[in-house]
Symmetry: C2
Subunit: 232 residues, 2 copies
DNA sequence: CGCGAGCTTGAGCCCCATCAACGGGAGTGG
DNA sequence: CCACTCCCGTTGATGGGGCTCAAGCTCGCG
């Protein structure tokens, strides 16, 4: 892997407090690879052989059963996935595919586990990382159980709006069928949800959305830090 | 707290590898308390002041928003809850209430965090515990998104059946309105789901259920270790 | 015997999935 | 430059799963 990528990784909360020698070992064992879009990186049920770190691009985590498929999360740079499975030396509960051309760092699972056992700083960082992941999924669970599809969309738009500078205009980070899957609905229903939100100042033009009634939209969405805040 | 309760707690995976002195400190700071049923122990949004350990009875974790309520999990002995919030010194994402008379151990959050920072063995145990919690919620998420209400009930019955010795007869561990909430449906709908399952050999008599067609029920439920196994 | 809580059953409705058709933009090849 | 095709997104019609509201039922208990 290229040394030029080390600084970013090293600065990750997960690796920041790791001992230098352990990090060096990990670096040497890791693979940095570039994938085109729509490549499936892992399959649920398979043993977790690598910890993945998304350096560039975007990865979709999803699961399948009974002929149905559900998107569980999108991983953006710099983010990791299947950490829990790697630590437990267990099978993946989710599958993963790229949604765009992506650069991904793959760290052999055994090296992660060794570092966990020998590096106290790393073990502590893992606690924090896992706690964050855990709380994120709880929020997502609440989002799904306590809100309708239109409410989920409204909150998601407000989140994008805040992320992108709150200038009244946002651009969707995913195509609409992916966004629909992420929100737990069909593409058709997403269209209708957008139509419903028109009366709340949501105007769609392709991947660009204009928000002209933030107050009204917020009133509908009723965002709460207990679901929507990234880090609480 | 009573010394007689120590052995059970000490044997918990979470505390097993903790240093003796740290465990002693924790024990002295902890409160063992008994609550009647339907007592709310914590409220979402409040700061997490204690780590809770259910010694006896049962605790329901739930969340509220927009006038809706959703049950997220049931905690049975011996189980912990709001560990992640305690570690992060954050607010609770869930509320908790007893569903029956319960004995609960309450360990001050600050003591847990201190132990985390000073006790390497405890930190490692936390990683495993959090990874388990994390994977459990992912499974629950998949259960909800990938299955219909009837399928969720069928799988739940099969799980109880296995837990209780697979003798073709099970007794429901919760009353039906709680079970309905746990499965993400209304009590009315649970009734109808049971009626639907009659043709698959599910015969209801109060809290006792007789299963006369395990094979057929399994065919409908299509259980998978990637959702239903407690520890994979 | 009367009462209330928990459970069941029924009717109606809403949200959302499904199926089908259509429109438009991008890419391709003539 | 245009015709063709394919894919994405939209729109409409229909249906089903599940919720709501309301009534009836059963059983335990006073």
């Amino acid at each position: 892997m290229r040394l030029s990528d080390f600084p970013h990784i090293r600065e990750l909360h997960l690796f920041k407090s790791m001992r230098e020698d352990n990090f060096a070992t990990l670096s040497q064992a890791a693979y940095l690879q570039t994938f085109p879009e729509q490549v499936q990186l892992i399959t649920e049920g398979d043993r977790a052989d690598f910890l993945f770190v998304v350096i560039e691009g975007c990865v979709e985590l999803f699961a399948t059963a009974n002929g149905r498929e559900a998107t569980l999360a999108m991983v953006h740079p710099i983010g990791t996935f299947i950490l829990a499975a790697v630590l437990k030396d267990a099978v993946n509960l989710m599958s993963a595919r790229t949604t765009k051309k992506s650069r991904v760092l793959m760290i052999p699972a055994q090296d992660i586990r060794t570092a966990f056992e020998t590096d106290e700083g790393f073990a502590r960082a893992l606690v924090v990382e896992l706690a964050d992941c855990y709380r994120s999924t709880i929020k997502e669970h609440k989002n799904l159980k306590l809100r309708t599809a239109v409410e989920r969309l409204a909150n998601r738009l407000l989140k994008y709006h805040a992320d992108q500078g709150a200038h009244g205009r946002i651009s969707l980070p995913h195509d609409k069928r992916t966004l629909a899957a992420l929100l737990g609905m069909t593409p058709e229903n997403l269209s209708r949800a957008f139509a419903t939100l028109r009366q709340f100042g949501v105007h769609v033009d392709g991947a660009t959305i204009e928000l002209t009634d933030i107050k009204g939209l917020t009133g509908l969405a009723k965002p709460t830090p207990l679901i929507d805040d990234r880090t609480t």
